[in-house]
């Protein structure tokens, strides 16, 4: 919304060119009322003041709740309150003609149209507006059209009251109906488009059908043209939600609809007509009203007076505010205030703030707070009981996972929560199992990710240009749709090691990292998914549960992107892993008091026999005497047969209550060797 500095200065006479001046005024408005987005010299000269003008641009978002600020009077009232000036009301209601109205108005539902006022003017001569009016409108971004339309637009930008002028001679019958559209009704609008209406749309209709979409746009058939002599001026108030509904459905936002959406002041309908009569005297002197004005209004339900104890204000702001200050601020903003009992006020909300903006005493606290200035409120620590906050074990777990990975050389990436079909299918995920976005930004980001892998893959492909080897990880939400109301969100941790000259050692390096993050985790071979290396894929077991997978990426995936080298990845379910940490009570095992004895054993087995199976067998056979068992090396080649390997372990054996004798140690060793032979292993002794 654009405001003219000189226009505001007309309404607040104390406002001079240099005091406060446009820039300072814009700053004050930002600090007390609504956010200013910039101040620019106006495109047109202000002919009232015969001087250059400045335009203060206020962010529309900060006016969402303030219907009154969509017109210059509303902003001028704020300016007067901020600067201590006084507001001049340009509306002279006394100019309204009295008598029997020339046109009748019928409102079908006062909920949808609380008030409709109308006045017929005759002797109209459609012409260009005087230059001052054209300049004033053009300066705030409204095109000047002709004297009649320009007057209605000026009032729209001033009170604010959107108005519409019908060519009275093109209306059928003597009554204006405000009603819902009927099925199959259509309207050709001023913008040249024809709209099919629904029974949800509120329309203005004459005897022949709709002539305007209430609060949104007028119809082309009844629009004024050069030859128009009599006009019906509409000055009405429409239900905000209804206007918004129609405007949103038709994707048609007009200067009128954006204002009606905010719930305008119904008192302004007749004020708008009075202002029009006055302006017509200047811009269209031949025109004069015929009859009195029509005014159909429902029972307007004004907001009741608000009881406001002054100490409520002080308590909410957290700083002492005096009664005098509260009264002065509220009165400057147009509230009526009385003090029936000490330190408690009865505040009556002015009509322009009463449509939905202000109804609670909390709303009044805001008025006082902003006018005092939030910067003026000294910070105060709250007096509250000292309690330990509820724990969030997931937070500490995620932090430890992240820190472990970072200290192992991994850089954390954040990827989008979106995937597209190609990305999903690369990782064997059917796009139909993903939750789709109904209004995606582009064709790339169409669904919600069910896996972190597509993101990490993209990171690898993007970064190989700059680095021959790197490690990355992400901790993020995977979103799995399900039948219940909200999807299942899984916190996943995934990591990748990429090396342009990688070999199988990268797999074991990532396995080592896993053991740092999830101590004592182990792997078991898993059947590979299509994007995994068929013989380098495993489940990750931790505390008796499979928490994820580790795998080398299928070489074809990188190859297809023209990327050399290998990538090894893991993905883990961190929600699951966290639950596994939750109930663990650690108990210490006494340190051995007697020395242990060690010996090495080499077991010969099939080359694909998992080493941990051999180790488990050795450990089991050593029984209670086992102090520790450690892998030494693995060997294949002569003199072993092809398809065989030899795996060597160092075993420490001992007893808790004495030092084992040489004979006892030999016996344990033999027991293991015999046992292993019994299980079909050969031993190199």
């Amino acid at each position: 919304m654009k405001f003219s500095y000189r226009w505001l200065a007309e309404l607040v006479p104390g406002l001079a060119d240099d005091s406060p001046g446009p820039l300072e005024l814009a700053r004050l408005i930002t600090m007390k009322t609504a956010e200013c987005e910039g101040v620019e010299p106006a495109s047109h000269l202000d002919l009232h003041g015969l001087a250059p003008d400045y335009i203060i641009d206020i962010d529309n978002k900060s006016l969402t709740h303030r219907p009154d600020l969509w017109g210059h009077i509303g902003m001028a009232r704020e300016v007067a309150a901020i600067t201590g000036g006084s507001l001049v009301d340009p509306v002279k209601v006394s100019l309204l003609p009295t008598g029997q109205p020339e046109i009748r108005v019928r409102i079908a539902d006062h909920e949808l149209c609380p008030r409709y006022s109308a006045l017929v003017m005759e002797g109209v001569q459609v012409d260009l507006s005087p230059v001052w009016l054209q300049n004033r409108l053009e300066s705030i971004g409204i095109n000047a059209i002709n004297n009649i339309v320009d007057v209605t637009n000026l009032i729209l930008a001033e009170l604010p009251q959107p108005m519409h002028a019908f060519d009275a001679d093109k209306l059928t019958g003597d009554t204006i109906h405000v009603r819902l559209a009927r099925r199959h009704e259509r309207l050709r609008a001023l913008n040249g488009e024809t709209y099919d209406l629904t029974e949800e749309d509120l329309v203005i209709a004459d005897a022949s059908g709709p002539v305007a979409l209430a609060g949104v746009i007028g119809g082309a058939e009844t629009a004024i043209s050069e030859g128009s002599r009599r006009v019906v001026l509409e000055s009405a108030n429409f239900n905000a939600a209804r206007v918004r509904l129609t405007s949103a459905r038709l994707k048609l936002r007009t200067d009128a609809s954006v204002r009606f959406e905010k719930a305008l002041d119904p008192e302004n309908t007749v004020r708008g007509l009075a202002r029009a009569v006055e302006l017509f005297q200047e811009v269209c002197p031949s025109a004069r009203p015929v009859g009195g004005f029509a005014d159909d209004r429902g029972v307007l339900r004004p907001v009741g007076p608000i009881l406001l104890p002054v100490n409520f204000v002080s308590r909410k702001l957290g700083t002492r505010v005096t009664l005098q200050r509260v009264v002065a601020i509220l009165r400057a903003l147009g509230f009526t205030v009385s003090e029936p009992q000490a330190e408690t006020l009865i505040v009556t909300v002015p009509s322009w703030r009463a449509t939905k903006d202000i109804s609670l005493r909390d709303d009044l606290v805001e008025e006082i707070g902003r006018m005092i200035g939030y910067n003026e409120i000294p910070p105060v620590a709250p007096k509250v009981s000292c309690v330990v906050p509820p724990a969030n074990p997931m937070r500490l777990f995620l932090r430890s996972v992240r820190q472990q990975l970072a200290s192992q050389g991994f850089t954390e990436v954040y990827n989008y929560s979106f995937v597209n079909e190609a990305e999903a299918e690369r990782f064997s995920l059917s796009i139909s199992e993903h939750i789709a976005i109904r209004n995606p930004i582009g064709s790339e980001l169409t669904h919600l990710r069910r896996s972190l892998l597509p993101g990490l893959f993209k990171n690898i492909v993007d970064n190989v240009r700059h680095s021959p080897a790197f490690r990355i990880f992400e901790v993020g939400q995977e979103i799995h749709g399900n039948a219940s109301s909200l999807p299942n969100e899984i916190t996943r941790g995934a990591a990748a090691i990429y090396d342009a000259h990688g070999d199988e050692q990268d797999f074991f390096e990532l396995k080592r990292v896993l053991e740092c993050v999830f101590p004592s985790s182990c792997l078991s071979a898993a059947e590979a998914r299509p994007f995994e290396h068929p013989t380098r894929t495993a489940y990750i077991h931790w505390r008796g549960t499979v928490i994820g997978r580790i795998f080398e990426l299928h070489p074809l995936l990188l190859q297809r992107e023209g990327v050399e080298g290998r990538a090894v990845l893991f993905e883990t379910d961190l929600d699951l892993a966290q639950r596994l940490t939750a109930s663990r009570l650690l108990r210490y095992t006494p340190v051995r008091k007697y020395p242990t004895s060690g010996f090495d054993l080499s077991v010969i087995s099939d080359i694909r026999m998992p080493a941990d199976k051999i180790q488990d067998a050795l450990a089991q056979l050593a029984g209670s005497h086992l102090a520790s068992i450690e892998f030494i090396r693995q060997y294949d080649g002569p003199p072993l047969l092809p398809g065989q390997k030899s795996v060597s372990y160092h075993i420490e054996a001992g007893a808790l209550d004495h030092t084992l004798s040489a004979e006892e140690v030999a016996e344990i060793r033999n027991q293991i060797i015999e046992g292993m032979r019994g299980r079909g292993f050969e031993l190199r002794v």
């Binding site: 909410k316 957290g318 609670l360 909390d362 707070g369 105060v380 509250v384 050389g409 919600l448």
Partner: protein
């Protein structure tokens, strides 16, 4: 006679020690004088022939010679050892500027780091830390926050709507609702997380960014309390007083509502794309919790009051690190990420 021999031994051996140029030569001299078959041992064999009073007198001399020699030998030996050690160590020179082997430490994402700091700060102040879901119901994201379907404020938030009827949360505020319903008052909580807006991406706009919601509900909570927490938050993040301004701002779930802006640290207030040329960056929309919002979560506004704020974590990260292009935060470029 024997005393002359002893004196001679002392003189000759000390001279020998003095002239030794290596530990070996020193050792030779020591063995010659003090060894089991050395001169001193020879001399002491002759003591048997002496009279007792002579024996006592010469015994003293012998001990003194022995002590002198051993002490001098010790000094000299240590000297050689030290010199040898010094020599060896000198030869063990390494170029300490050569690179170390092995993997370098990685890095945490700047948002992660910032979020951890703020979580720690608020934990220390007795706040619970809640994580809410990224996909939310319309009820949590809008209705329960005093934003009904017809409310124009819904225009302020360009929402991603999902095929299952839910939406991607447009702010972390729905976690307020979850917090109020789960924790019950009095409560203090923060909720960091990823939020989404349907916006075209450029240097200062992202469809995916991070917020940190904060809320406190207690018997008496005021704007002065809210400002207190904001000041603590900012001085802890920036380690100095950041230049801020508090101005009115409209958010349907707070009343009064206001906005904390921080002086743009990218351009130092001169104007840049990040601050939309204004010199100020919106960082913290906040206010007292609207009575309707309390009521919708079954909290009686006559009994309880609260404040809420929604810190822009992404903006804060940009301000703290001088990041002038928001896209880098989720671009996955290691040349950017490894700087943190």
């Amino acid at each position: 006679m024997l005393d002359a021999k002893l004196e001679e031994l002392r003189r000759a051996t000390l001279a020998g020690f003095a002239s030794a140029v290596s530990l070996e030569q020193l050792e030779e001299s020591r063995v010659a004088a003090l060894g089991r078959k050395g001169t001193l041992a020879q001399i002491s064999k002759e003591f048997g022939k002496l009279r007792p009073e002579e024996r006592a007198q010469l015994g003293k001399l012998l001990n003194s010679v022995k002590q002198d020699l051993e002490s001098d030998y010790g000094d000299k030996k240590r000297g050689f050892e030290q010199a040898e050690l010094a020599h060896r160590l000198a030869n063990e020179w390494i170029d300490v500027t050569l690179p170390a082997r092995g993997v370098r430490v990685g890095s945490l994402h700047p948002i992660t780091q910032l979020q951890s700091e703020i979580e720690d700060l608020f934990t220390s102040l007795g706040f619970a830390i809640l994580y809410g879901p990224e996909v939310e119901t319309e009820e949590h994201n809008f209705d329960a926050l005093n934003i009904p379907a017809t409310h124009p404020a819904r225009d302020m938030q360009d929402t991603f709507w999902l095929s299952d009827g839910n939406l991607l949360r447009t702010h972390t505020s729905p976690v307020q609702v979850r917090g109020m319903r789960e924790l019950k008052p009095p409560l203090r909580m923060i909720a960091p997380g990823r939020v989404f807006r349907n916006e075209e991406v450029d240097a200062s706009h992202e469809h995916t960014f991070y917020q940190l919601e904060g809320m406190m509900v207690d018997r008496e909570v005021s704007i002065a309390n809210l400002i207190y927490f904001m000041k603590i938050l900012l001085s802890s993040i920036f380690k100095r007083d950041a230049i801020v301004r508090l101005r009115p701002g409209y958010f349907p779930f707070v009343e009064p509502g206001f906005e904390l802006d921080i002086h743009c640290l990218i351009c130092d207030g001169a104007g840049c794309p990040v601050c939309k040329q204004s010199g100020w960056v919106e960082l913290l929309p906040c206010g007292l919790v609207h009575p309707n919002v309390l009521r919708m979560s079954d909290i009686d506004p006559e009994e309880w009051s609260g404040f809420a704020f929604g810190l822009g974590l992404t903006r804060l990260a940009m301000m703290r690190y001088g990041i002038d292009d928001i896209r880098q935060l989720q671009g996955g470029d290691l040349r950017f990420l490894t700087q943190f």
